[in-house]
């Protein structure tokens, strides 16, 4: 866990929450934003909650160079633009963890509905746009940003991870499981992200009805460390 984790779009609710959670367990993070001032402001908010935090705020392109596993936590509306920018920056050997969900809210539709993505899923779009040698896995679609972003909230839920190579998924899983209460579950190849990305609008539908922030836990999976 020595190398920092760059979070592209780290000033958003999910990205900031991840940064804060990692900072609290001693993991270095770099918050990326289009605006370096906003990135530094978000880093400051992490330091308020985690005074020992190793966190800095940088413009996205610089942030993305700071660590081997790069998390992309931007709204679907901005995913393509961010991927275009990252194309110039990411290098072979880096891993991109895409957290994008194609909610219909991106085009003023409902957050309980999703858009069709030509490649099949936002993650597959990311894979198509990522530079040669940079694999993509997808994860963290079902973790509620408000819950993750509340330092007092205890987590006890699963993160479904999709990707074409187990080793890539394991690399992302290690970082995800560094956050207490999150278990990373291997959901299959990247194409399964077509389904996993749909869990967000489903949970939003449940949240509306139960006035809650629901998450997912799969039953029937043992507690052994299956990424070992």
């Amino acid at each position: 866990m020595a190398e920092p984790i760059p979070i592209i779009g780290g000033t958003g609710a999910l990205g900031w929450a991840l940064a804060m959670r990692w900072a609290r367990v001693g993991q270095a993070v770099v918050i990326g934003s289009r605006d370096p001032g906003r990135a530094e402001e978000a880093a400051g908010r992490v330091r308020e909650v985690a005074p020992e935090a190793q966190v800095e705020g940088l413009v996205n392109a610089e942030a993305a160079r700071r660590g081997p596993v790069v998390f992309l936590t931007v709204p679907f509306r901005n995913q393509s633009e961010n991927l275009t920018n990252l194309r110039e920056v990411l290098e072979p050997g880096q891993l991109l963890v895409d957290c994008t969900v194609p909610l219909a809210a991106a085009v003023s539709g409902r957050a309980t509905r999703s858009l069709g993505v030509w490649q099949g899923s936002a993650a597959q779009q990311a894979q198509e746009m990522a530079p040669e040698g940079v694999p993509v896995v997808s994860a963290l679609h079902t973790v509620s940003a408000p819950v993750l972003g509340d330092p007092e909230a205890e987590l006890a839920e699963d993160v479904l991870v999709c990707g074409d190579r187990r080793a890539d998924k394991a690399r992302a899983a290690r970082l995800i499981e560094a956050i207490p209460g999150l278990r990373a579950v291997n959901a299959g190849p990247l194409e399964m992200s077509r389904i996993v990305e749909q869990l967000t609008p489903l949970l939003i539908s449940v949240n509306i009805r139960y006035k809650t922030h629901a998450g997912v836990r799969l039953t029937g999976i043992g507690e052994a460390d299956h990424w070992a």
Copy 2:
């Protein structure tokens, strides 16, 4: 729970498992099949596990007349044919609970992939084909038939229920929750079945990797009886 529950396609793995579970808690069931002999044979297998069972096996059309809430548990390949047959039989005031999942396996594809259904989901196809006055809800997509069908297996999982009227969902939920260990969660309108039906191929993908029979449990939902 006085009136029997007709299960169309009740000789299949999911339908039989439901029949067996309900029979064990004293709920009367009627197993429907195209072949009355196979229906009676399946009813006999329920009696072996639940000697006090109130269970009979009938041809589908007769079974469907025996109770107000009819469960449809057939493979996607046969859903349309069954709905055509049920059109002549179901009467206004009955409720149809559709459990169909459009797995690509229906057309010799993979069980980790799904087919696009013109209406958006198998449940919406069912609603289009159901007679006037017979609402459709969908449920039970994520419950593993082998686990449900093992009388010794303890359940502790959720069933996501989709439907356009809360009262219809509550009616189905009451029956589902009569099975110990199943909690029915309101997942929203019937169109959300587009997502919920996709959970089956997702779980199959997980099952392959973990050699298990996974189920779903949502976090963040209190234990209060929310159907009351």
